[in-house]
Subunit: 239 residues, 2 copies
């Protein structure tokens, strides 16, 4: 199940037909580095699993947090996911191929025609069969990576996981081998006739920003930790 | 396939087992009104379909734009999706059950333990079997709704769809009958011992904001249309 640690970051993505970007004016990015950059920025991903059997089988897509580890033990690196042992989507996942998609929304493309309207975005699609992480050290490391994915540096400031917490948590590891990255950026790609007609076209940049941290009531006016302040500052900047 | 127009907005969501919210401290919202409010705010959704057959079958999750119509002809209202006739995920969809998930990210929950870290969000999960929209009037209306979903009011300012554009586009209609809505808000739900230990806990509100519209080069310094200015103003406010 595991593979050498050393899939180079320059290894091409999309080695299989099912993760090949097929169409559109959107740029397919072939470098593994772009995949990790994108995954590193994601506060949420969407996990797609098939639940049920036979005619009852259907996809379920749920938002969750993931964390990529380029040095992880799976071929191409490892994408970690976690959840409650009671979550049927995660419990069903290890026997089946799953899909994890990350989408960072960068803008609205207001074209001169309905047809050419679009969004600017960066997205990654990862397809593979996950393994359940059973090694305790890898489990603890994965859970720390997931906390740090959302608040960088925070895991090191927290008490260790308890046995009870670990027992209640499923950690999955998805190989990052089969993945595709797509990026759309810039203004509309309009038809010449619509441009000549003088209709307005352009794009609206979008970004996610943070407002000031809201301490829990018990924290009063005590100091906000560095990790939280750094995160708020980063998400509040001009870009 | 179609049903009366009049599923009341007070009809409960989650009429089936597969869209019942099963677990967590997250609030399951039962009102149909909440579903439409949430869908109305979404600039992106994630469409999950199963592609392939038998042992090769696997889920694919792709970002796209959807538009809900509470007065649509499907039971519970209609969620419209569109895409290229060349997109295998959309072409595969009508014979199969699909899942559309909308997630609005509202904040980061920084708890006193890794275990209680979370996100604040509002999400909707819709499961059903879509129909391909073939009626030309419904197709045009659906495509207008999709444009207006992203830039309210814009569809009315654009030229009509051409035959070629319509021929290149698949429009799917998904009944909004089977849906669930989940909302998490507020600060962390920490263990008493961790609160007493004095660790900082709180949450960081997040929101999507727009920067000034960037006109296409051919538009020069010409006036930015009202629909675009209104949208930028709305996404640039304090909330």
């Amino acid at each position: 199940m595991t593979a050498p640690l050393t899939t180079p970051l320059t290894t091409p993505l999309s080695p299989t037909d099912r993760t090949t970007v097929r169409r559109g004016r959107i740029r397919a990015v072939e470098e593994r580095r772009a995949l990790f950059d994108l995954l590193g920025e994601a506060l949420v991903c969407h996990l797609g699993v098939v639940v049920g059997e036979g005619a009852e089988a259907h996809p379920v897509v749920l938002p969750t947090v993931c964390a990529a580890d380029a040095e992880g033990p799976d071929e191409g690196g490892t994408l970690y996911l976690h959840g409650s042992v009671a979550a049927r989507s995660l419990v069903a996942a290890p026997d089946r191929t799953i899909c994890v998609t990350v989408t960072l929304l960068d803008g609205i493309v207001a074209a001169r025609s309905a047809f050419h309207h679009s969004m600017n975005y960066r997205s990654a699609v990862v397809i593979g069969r996950p393994r359940v992480v059973t090694d305790e050290a890898e489990r603890a490391r994965a859970l720390d990576l997931i906390v740090d994915q959302v608040v960088p540096g925070r895991a090191a400031t927290l008490r260790p996981h308890t046995r009870k917490e670990l027992a209640a948590t499923v950690v999955l590891a998805l190989p990052l081998l089969e993945a595709s990255v797509k990026i759309r950026a810039g203004g509309p790609g309009d038809d010449a006739a619509d441009i000549e007609a003088g209709t307005w076209g352009g794009h609206i940049p979008l970004r996610l920003v943070a407002d000031a941290a809201v301490p829990a009531p018990e924290c009063g006016d005590g100091p906000v930790p560095d990790d939280i302040r750094t995160l708020v500052d980063r998400l509040d900047g001009p870009d």
